[in-house]
């Protein structure tokens, strides 16, 4: 069954067509990667799914239901969590606080009960904390639990963002360049984590990534985009060797040289 379906989606910013008639579906339990050169429209696709942008045409369905009528803050309630390319953490809060914000979609308490910190609020807080601690254990963030984000290294922030997305207990995780700016070892960790997220937690992953090593090792299917258009879809090897993809990355000069 397809969890997420994009159907002939087009986005225009004024005269610029950022995404042009793109269709794809992500199956339940799959790791699906979007690749392509800069400006291909990969992040735009993410921002469409999180409802920050409205498409000019087309439909986006999550579990058979269109999400185009939703506001951005209603999307997480469906079980769609995301990270950001440029890291959007709450800088002045601790790692723990950041992850607890990830629990916001599970908030059941009302304003009044929170003002009095009613027993129900306390028991919910404990439950939120339990989930957050599981995520902290999974991503090995114990040492940073009470550290403020503003003082953390880039690589750690990247993991905290992944952790915050996981704390929402999503069905699908949108990872916007999870390995950008990470060292070789950190990227290796990220590969293991994404595999575990898929296998142990059963969470579907849709990601944008430039690092082809990571893409090739974790993804089931890959979609290559360039200038907002679909180039190729299939396994990582198929997409990498697809002539249109090679042309998009290297330009047609590469092939002309080969022929001549």
């Amino acid at each position: 069954m397809s969890l997420l379906v994009l159907e002939q989606v087009t986005v225009r910013f004024g005269g610029l067509v950022a995404v042009n008639d793109v269709s794809f579906h992500v199956g339940e339990g799959e790791v699906f990667a979007l690749v392509g050169p800069n400006g291909a429209g990969k992040s735009t696709v993410f921002n469409l799914i999180s409802r920050f942008y409205d498409p000019a045409h087309g439909d986006i369905r999550f579990r058979e239901k269109s999400i185009l009528g939703l506001r951005p803050d209603q999307v997480p309630a469906l079980g769609i969590a995301r990270t950001f390319q440029n890291i959007e953490l709450f800088e002045q809060s601790t790692v723990l606080q950041n992850l607890l914000v990830g629990r916001h979609r599970h908030r059941r308490s009302s304003l009044v009960s929170e003002l009095f910190f009613a027993p129900q609020v306390r028991s919910e807080e404990r439950r939120h904390r339990q989930v957050v601690e599981e995520v902290i254990d999974f991503l090995e963030l114990q040492a940073y639990r009470d550290k403020t984000i503003a003082g953390l290294a880039y690589g750690v922030r990247k993991v905290v963002e992944l952790a915050r997305a996981l704390a929402t207990e999503p069905r699908i995780l949108l990872l916007d360049e999870p390995a950008s700016g990470l060292s070789l070892e950190e990227t290796q960790d990220m590969i293991f984590w994404i595999e575990d997220i898929k296998k142990q937690m059963g969470i579907t992953v849709l990601m944008v990534e430039h690092d082809m090593n990571l893409v090739a090792s974790v993804s089931d299917r890959v979609l290559a985009l360039a200038d907002g258009k679909e180039l190729a879809i299939g396994s990582a090897q198929d997409v990498q060797s697809h002539p249109a993809v090679i042309e998009a990355y290297l330009g047609s000069g590469g092939r002309a040289g080969h022929d001549g």
Partner: protein, 365 residues
């Protein structure tokens, strides 16, 4: 250096980090409760003034310090609280009902005002709230049948179950009343900060876009912040009316709004402590300046000179000093000092240095 061993999640949910800290606050509470027996009536009055500033400061701190929405119009909400409370009492509503209602009404007015200005950010929001402050002043003058116009109103005596509380007649009782309101607001504020809504507020402040991506409804959360903030400020306004005895449109002018903002910046944005530190500075500085001035003119035998504008001048200097040298305010300085001694001799100078981050997704919107 103190190591706190946490044995359950409740250790992080609790109000205090560890037992000694709770004892310190208990000591502080005993001190403020015993204050009327320790100092003379004049200083009890001054302490009441500080507490009223602190309540208003907590109101503004919630909005500006924690939710990141600047407001230059909070005097307007003090006015709403003050006038509604006094008008209700004049119409026979008992004080114990009128005071909370005044807070609720000020809060609702805050929500109504918030709705159109929700989309504004930073300086534009500040200007919009500034306009509200100016408008309110004019409105008070125009709505003469209720507000008494430029003449203003006289606060009626406060009666709680037959007990009459008067700022001059029974300063200690008025002090306790103000202290009780302070503690109630403080408790609500502190509870909120450890609950999901409080985290949503700080999330909004630090990154609207990712708060949204975590399921925080921006419009509703901002409106809630405005409502709670204006409600607390309204309570402070009502108490200020009784404290001043008589008030008119000029009591709640723009200068008051600016002083409120100065207060929380000097105290330290983003901490409840900051509201109290700021209130101490704002509340006691005029007395301090007067004392120093009298001292100087006494030494140099200048007679009783008054220098016009000296107070605002010194306020301004202090503010500039803080923004330049300690943007985190008095509370920030205190935290650094404490850390220095806790870690001695391992404190590093750049321990609290804020990293500059140039990557922001906000430009997307």
């Amino acid at each position: 250096m103190r190591f706190v061993f946490k044995r359950s999640y409740d250790a992080d949910i609790g109000l205090f980090k560890h037992r000694p800290q709770a004892l310190w606050y208990l000591g502080l509470l005993v001190l403020v409760v015993a204050l009327p027996w320790l100092v003379d009536e004049f200083f009890v009055g001054e302490a009441t003034n500080v507490l009223i500033w602190a309540i208003a400061g907590m109101g503004l701190m919630l909005l500006t310090g924690h939710t990141g929405q600047a407001s230059l119009g909070h005097a307007a909400f003090m006015a709403v609280g003050c006038y509604t409370c006094v008008i209700m009492i004049a119409n026979g509503v008992p004080f114990l009902l009128a005071l909370p209602l005044a807070g609720v009404i000020a809060g609702l007015v805050g929500v109504i005002v918030a709705l159109p200005v929700l989309r504004l950010h930073g300086i534009y929001l500040a200007i919009a709230t500034l306009a509200i402050s100016v408008l309110t002043e004019d409105f008070i003058v125009i709505a003469e049948p209720w507000t008494g116009g430029v003449v203003g109103l006289v606060a009626p005596p406060i009666v709680i179950f037959g007990l009459e509380i008067d700022r001059y007649g029974t300063p200690a009782l008025f002090y306790f009343l103000t202290l009780a309101v302070t503690l109630v607001v403080l408790a609500g504020y502190r509870n909120l900060l450890r609950a999901p809504l409080g985290r949503a507020f700080t999330a909004l402040r630090d990154s609207e876009i990712s708060a949204q991506a975590m399921g925080v409804n921006i419009a509703r959360t901002k409106a809630t912040a405005f409502g709670l903030s204006c409600g607390a400020t309204g309570l402070a306004g009502a108490l200020l009316g009784f404290y001043a005895g008589a008030f008119n449109h000029e009591t709640f002018n723009l200068v008051l709004s600016i002083q409120l903002l100065l207060m929380i910046v000097i105290g330290g944005l983003g901490s409840i402590h900051g509201a109290f530190f700021g209130a101490l500075v704002i509340g006691f500085l005029p007395q301090f300046i007067a004392l120093v001035r009298d001292g100087i003119s006494g030494v140099f035998d200048l007679g009783s000179v008054t220098i016009p504008g000296i107070e605002s001048g010194i306020f301004g200097l202090i503010l500039v000093g803080f923004i330049l040298f300690e943007p985190t305010g008095i509370y920030g300085r205190w935290v650094k000092l404490r850390t220095y001694f806790e870690l001695y001799p391992f404190y590093r100078k750049d321990m609290f240095k804020r990293q500059k981050s140039f990557l922001k997704t906000e430009r997307m919107r």
